[in-house]
Amino acid sequence: MIEMQDVWKEYNNGVTALQGVSVRIAQGEFVYVVGPSGAGKSTFIKLMYREERPTKGHIFVGGFNIERLRDRQIPFMRRHVGVIFQDFKLLQKMTVEENVAFAMEVIEASKRLTRKRVKEMLELVGLIDKAKMFPNELSGGEQQRVAVARALVNKPSVIVADEPTGNLDPDNSWQILKLFERVNDRGTTIVMATHNRELVNATRKRVIAIEQGQIARDEERGDYGYED
């Protein structure tokens, strides 16, 4: 489902964020990506929906060969990947419900279905009473949950989440994780970068540890590691 073959990423300023990463994630897997700050987790994730392009190597996501993709095809590839960005990336001019609905308008879903799904998702992340508010009227954790709702609303076949619980209290974090597990049970692939040791250790899934741009560890049913 997701495959990287000897992927390198050097940013314009000369920083090499990834050095020869090869990995294969099957459809329906649940993968934690862990590692210290600046290790290259976000870069690893950004390559999957082509926010960044690799300097070298091959990437396949779903049926798409990411580097060969024509510009016109990029949006269609992205519709298969629900992304929760580390910095949320909410549209400031749109209300919470408009933000979530946007992902469905893009695929030209019917109005009725959109309304129904948006309502469902906002209920799931516990923000139905803030539906009419704008992002800058929300707390950090609330914004993060809007981002989660937007990523899931389309039922994408892959969910890619960059620290989706960074701004959430343990309770809410657990709920989001439960949500992911439910979605994962239905066959959705989930790749989640996280610093949350509690979650990782409590759920025991596949763990990919990235350190200095390389895969340092890749364990089925792994733990967070880095214990002192």
């Binding site: 510009d71 269609f76 549209l91 308008e105």
Partner: protein, 292 residues
Amino acid sequence: MKIRTFGRHGKEGFKNLFRNGWMTFAAVSGVAVTLLILGVSLIISVNLQNILSNIESELQFNAYVSDQVKTSDLPVLLHEISSLGGVKQVTLITKEQALSTMKKTLGPNADLLNGLGNPLPNEFVVKVDNPKMIPQIASLVTQISGIQKVQYGASFIPRMLSIFTIVRDTSIIFIIALIVMGMFLISNTIKITIFTRRREIEIMKLVGATDGFIRGPFFVEGTLLGIIGAFIPSVILNQGYYFIQKNVVLFPPFSLMPDPIVMNRVLPILYAVGLLIGAWGGIMSMRRYLKV
């Protein structure tokens, strides 16, 4: 694209106009002021062209009749002049008419003419087809017996004509340059406006929107912005010109063209510039932010 998506773009574009608040206001007023300047210049230019061609067509010379010619012979002379090639129109001004015109001009000072008799001669005003022909035709008229003297601006006329040509050409170049600069100013404003929304565009792209989908509402917004930005100056110009044209009393050849004719020429240009750059320019300047 599905029909309902068109509807959505329209609605979103309209909404954005309001949600961007004073930014919309700044852009619209920038467009409006630019088009106002352009419009005023166009109106002046259109009228200038008109006045110049009025003057050209008014160019004429005078032929004075010697006092020996009898009044009854004047029509014969008139006919003789009229039949020369290149003559458009010949008008007789009798010495009595000339005197009364002079008296009117002198107004309260007309008394000065009393007791002088009438020193003025009978006179023909000759209009020609092509003002450049005046010297030739004038010299032919001089040869007609009974004509004492012809009178025209001498070297003045050809010079005047060369000035007119320069003024006309300059004003056309000026207007074209102004349209180009106006377009530049408007597209500049739009470019900066789009720049403030680059993050918005990038996010949409990352969430899976196609370029066309993102452009839709921007296109609607730009169109509305262009229309409003052209509507404001067109109202001001229309009302303002109507007022001026009614209230400023001039006389030929310096007459202002009638309101509808001028507006028919000027307003389409304003709307074209406003719309074109509002909608199309907006779409163009967002291209770079779509490369995500």
